[in-house]
């Protein structure tokens, strides 16, 4: 079964079965950390790491976990990984860890994790579980990155903190461009994500609600 699924396990979650816009998992952090690109990128990488490791660990343990404490074992494994990630972020990218604030901790309750652990890792061998973790993590990271790019470019006029609009638009003679502060507001995140879903479903009609 695993062999048959393998090609789709990794590439599927990237777009056609994307965890954020199709499976509707992990929305919270996808919206909250996307005002700027750097935190969004770090968050995407963090979640991918946690998801890949958690998937492998749970997959290795899948035949030993007592059924009654299954959920709590999963939570403990995930929470331990998240704590380690949080410690590493605090030590090496302090400014980003401040920008992410509690949303790193919220990876624990990110539905992508519990969803993938329950649906995939518990029933599959470690290697496919690793691919599934990476695929879903990257699918999530990609949506984060797209949203963050739009929000940072139009909201702050920068990309990764570099002043793009001021340099290229204003210096080209189109003076007086004002950044649209709306894009840094929470509401903009919701609307942008709504539009991404719109585009994605227009391209994949079989995903549309009847």
């Amino acid at each position: 079964m695993a062999n048959e699924k393998k090609p789709g396990v990794f590439t599927g979650p990237l777009w056609t079965n994307n965890p954020v816009v199709v499976q509707v998992l992990g929305i919270c952090s996808a919206l909250a950390v996307t005002t700027q690109m750097k935190p969004a990128l770090v968050m995407g990488i963090s979640l991918t790491c946690v998801l890949a490791f958690a998937n492998v660990i749970i997959s290795v343990l899948r035949n030993t976990i007592p059924n009654r404490i299954r959920i709590i074992v999963q939570l403990v494994v995930v929470a331990a990984l998240v704590i380690i990630v949080n410690q590493i972020l605090k030590a090496y990218v302090y400014d980003v860890s401040k920008a992410l604030s509690v949303y790193v901790g919220l990876i624990i309750t990110n539905c992508i994790l519990m969803g993938r652990l329950e649906a995939f890792a518990l029933g599959n061998k470690p290697f496919p579980a690793l691919l599934d973790g990476l695929g879903n993590g990257l699918g999530y990271a990609m949506i984060l990155f797209i949203t963050a790019t739009i929000r940072e470019l139009f909201g702050s006029g920068t990309l990764f903190g570099y002043d793009v609009i001021a340099r290229f638009v204003n210096e080209a003679g189109y003076d007086g461009y004002q950044n649209c502060g709306f894009f840094t507001m929470p509401a903009a995140a919701l609307i942008i994500l709504g539009c991404i879903i719109w585009y994605q479903r227009a391209k994949n009609p079989d995903l549309q609600d009847k």
């Binding site: 035949n63 030993t64 976990i65 007592p66 059924n67 009654r68 404490i69 709590i72 074992v73 403990v76 494994v77 331990a80 704590i83 380690i84 410690q87 590493i88 605090k90 030590a91 090496y92 302090y94 400014d95 502060g181 840094t184």
Partner: protein, 315 residues
Amino acid sequence: MHKTMNRNSNVYTVIYATVLTVLVAILLSAAALGLKDKQKANTDNEKKQQILQSVATKIGKDVTFENAAELWQELKMDEAMFCVNTNGEKVDGKAFDIASKTLFSGGKIIKDASLPVYVANIDGVTYRIVSMYGAGLWGPIWGYLSVDPEGKVAGVSFDHESETAGLGAKIKDDPNFAKAFIGKSIFTDGKFTSVSVTKAGKPANHGGDKVDAITGATKTSDFVGDMIYESLLGYVPFLQSGTVNSDCCKKQEGGCCEKQDAGCCEKQEAGCCEKQESDCCKKQDAGCCEKKGCKEEGKSECAEKAECDACKKAE
């Protein structure tokens, strides 16, 4: 192993949970211990940045997270900091390790607290930096305020936990708000009047100098004013002892101070008297003695105890 033991038995579940807990605990403790130094360095660096930000205009460049440690070294901040109590006396304690929120209880400074003081010598002028902490509109706010030898504000830096972005958050983000404090006097005619933050056009809360509140964030601005007042209140005796007004020399009686030149007078600190020439101290009268713990010839125990009360009695 799975054949001999039922995966759903109580014993198995308990053992499993115990082993997992122990493993996770070991792993996490190892990670936390291993990365502790690095994390501490980061939080320290951030604190250094905020402290130095309060004298940034005197340094002449912006203090960033990257250059904070370097500037800290350059200014020899580590050697110059100390603690004072609410009576203005130097006390033991590691200034840098004191979290300013521990100094407060119910918004007031604790009576026997050791307050941290950082000293920055920039271009021959000594700035004393004090720490502030208080409640904001939505969460704690804190900051640092530097005082020049004349008791005027040389700069401030503020930070906050959760003030509204674009409004209250301007206390940190809007450089013009911090700049407005520069040059304001925290003493008026020798009395502590703090620097108030009130709406444009309104008078200061305690008399003395004021700064205009941020438009649209008057509440947060009010809290900043309260924080400055309550925090500085604990430092008042200390700041006064070193705040030598230009008319200080005239006020002091006795031969000692009259002879002092203006430069000496301005630079006076708590320990300055000891450094003064011996004949200066001998001539000091009781009034001078009270402040400095210095003593007339002959009565040596007073000089050792260096307490105002003892001095008065001796007189």
